[in-house]
């Protein structure tokens, strides 16, 4: 049996997926979720094979949800997003259903999902590509979602002091707390608002408003002193970027 999870905040939208799925006897619905929080938890706990996922939902969007999954299932988007917005993800979502859709259209999505499940293996990569593609498609971040065990935290950018690269992860320092998130510095550098965050070092991105002063450290490097007292290394390139951004 293929185990299916439906995540959509509208009951009628979930109902139609259930109705369309009925003729497919090899599939069973293991649950329904109304929002992204529930969705992340359910995927984590129940490990479904296929997820029908809406994009616009309370609290967490479908894309933000995907960022938080360690072992993502096969994803079929079901959304009212316009075609252009969703086309970008064509390669990596198994399929996307534009609401409203027909039984035939749904059947072909099921077929694609089955093929994907048989081929298995590379699904994790597919979803991480999907997340990357989504990140490329958005022009500017306005919040960051993080999973802390079973808890999900949504961070306002204004609360963040600095980002620090740590192997595959980035440590986000925010109000005396430290969060880890699997993300690339390069992505953060390009997607964070340029007037608020500056990459001062290969391993550091700093919130401009948190900088207290900048001191010379050695011939070619500097230190940024944050208001919290933390010292952050600044490379020569970083120093120039600061100079440009702050206009000194």
């Amino acid at each position: 049996m293929t185990r299916v999870l439906i995540i959509d905040d509208e009951k009628l939208a979930r109902d139609i997926i259930k109705a369309y799925l009925k003729p497919h006897t090899g599939f069973e619905i293991i649950g329904e979720c109304q929002n992204g929080f529930e969705g992340v938890k359910m995927i984590h706990d129940e490990k479904p094979d296929v997820v029908f996922l809406d994009i616009q939902m309370p609290k967490l969007t479908g894309f933000e949800m995907l960022e938080l999954l360690d072992e993502p299932p096969v994803i079929v988007f079901s959304t009212a997003y316009d075609e252009f917005a969703i086309k970008a993800f064509e390669n990596n979502a198994v399929d996307y259903l534009l609401k409203p859709y027909s039984q035939d259209r749904f059947d072909s999505a099921i077929e694609k999902a089955s093929e994907k499940l048989q081929g298995k293996g590379d699904n994790k990569e597919t979803v991480s590509n999907l997340v990357d593609e989504h990140r490329n498609a958005i022009d500017e971040l306005d919040r960051i979602v993080i999973r802390l065990g079973s808890k999900i935290v949504i961070l306002d950018l204004d609360t963040i002091d600095y980002f620090e690269a740590q192997d595959d992860y980035v440590a986000i320092h925010s109000e005396e707390q430290k969060y880890l998130k699997q993300v690339r510095m390069k992505f953060l550098e390009s997607a964070l608002p340029q007037d608020k965050f500056i990459r001062v070092h290969r391993s550091y991105i700093v919130a401009v408003s948190r900088i207290d002063k900048i001191e010379a450290y050695s011939k070619d490097s500097y230190l940024a002193l944050l208001k919290t007292g933390v010292k952050i290394p600044v490379s020569r390139t970083g120093y120039n970027a600061l100079k440009e951004g702050l206009g000194f």
Binding site: L12, Q56, K59, T61, P100, D142
Partner: protein, 328 residues
């Protein structure tokens, strides 16, 4: 011309015939040349700082006047054989050219004055028309701001209902049609009564209620005395859309939207309140609807602060003050 003849006859003592002939021969061509310059002025307009055009014009006047004067001189010389007159003619030629040129310059200047005056009026009329066109198109753009998500999600709900509750599906199709008919209609006027506006919003909210079910609750209070007061068409729709977005999309439990309409001092006061989570960090796309409403009200009434917002820890209220007099 009469004055000119008079001068020649009485002051210089020429015969009446000679005076009139001279006057006609010299003045008529100048007058003709003056009229001809009307057309030159129409096509040659020295715009700010274009001095070469002015010089060209002055040269044209000088050359034109010289040629005409010389032609007149030759003609007068041939027609009148009186020696005294001929001497007078020869002596006065430079003066005639000078005076002719002066007269022509004055004529051209008068032409320009007339022309610029007319141009100014035309320009003003054009600008006025452009402004009203612009205002109209701006208003049209601000009016129809229905989110495509609303349309497609509603259609999806209908699609789903046809399987489970066909009757409810039909009801929703009708509501959706009524809503679109009343909001898309071309014959729509800019203003309508608050009663009609609320009726239309009821359709909109009913549709949203089918989508969101228990998560959307509505409370209305309406002072019946105000029902004939006017509001801009569809002005409330973006406000409800915002309320739903912040309420339904940022809260897990759902949202209650409270609408209050009453009149005071001849103005209509509308307030829409929704509960919200002040801690939530909203998703993208904020403030466009609200900005549109501000712009639209300002365009219609010419007053800028008709929209006010009140926030406390769990309620968001937007208040509209709708005057009953418009600027146009």
């Amino acid at each position: 011309m009469a004055a000119y003849s008079f001068l020649l006859f009485f002051v210089f003592g020429f015969s009446l015939y000679a005076a009139i002939l001279d006057s006609v021969i010299h003045n008529l061509p100048i007058a003709g040349l003056g009229m001809a310059f009307w057309y030159v002025v129409q096509y040659l307009s020295p715009k700010g700082g274009n001095t070469s055009a002015i010089f060209n014009l002055i040269a044209a006047v000088l050359v034109g006047v010289s040629m005409v004067s010389y032609a007149s001189y030759s003609l007068a010389d041939a027609l009148n054989n009186d020696a005294e007159y001929q001497t007078f003619l020869t002596n006065t030629l430079p003066w005639r050219i000078f005076i002719g040129a002066l007269v022509m310059v004055v004529i051209v200047m008068i032409y320009y004055l007339l022309k610029s005056n007319r141009d100014l009026k035309e320009k003003e009329a054009e600008e006025l028309e452009l402004q009203s066109l612009l205002k109209q198109s701006e208003l049209d753009m601000l009016k129809f701001q229905i989110n495509p998500h609303f349309i497609f999600n509603s259609l999806n709900s209908i699609s789903s209902l046809t399987i489970t509750e066909p009757e409810k599906a039909r009801e929703m199709v009708i509501k959706l049609s009524d809503f679109f008919r009343s909001s898309l209609g071309r014959g729509n006027q800019e203003l309508q009564t608050i009663k009609e506006e609320l009726k239309r919003m009821e359709l909109y909210l009913d549709i949203e209620k089918v989508r969101f079910g228990e998560r959307l609750k509505l409370i209305n209070s309406f002072d019946g005395k105000c029902e004939q007061l006017k509001v801009p068409n569809m002005i409330l729709q973006p406000l409800y859309e915002n309320a739903i977005k912040y309420g339904v999309y940022e809260q897990l439990e759902g949202v209650t939207i409270e609408t209050d309409c009453h009149c005071r001092d001849g103005n209509l006061h509308i307030s829409i309140t929704n509960d919200y989570d002040s801690e939530a960090i909203p998703q993208k796309g904020k403030g466009i609807g609200l900005k549109n409403i501000r712009n639209r009200l300002e365009l219609i009434y010419g007053i800028s602060d008709l929209v006010t917002i009140e926030k406390n820890h769990n309620q968001f209220t937007i208040k509209l003050l709708i005057p009953q007099e418009t600027t146009s």
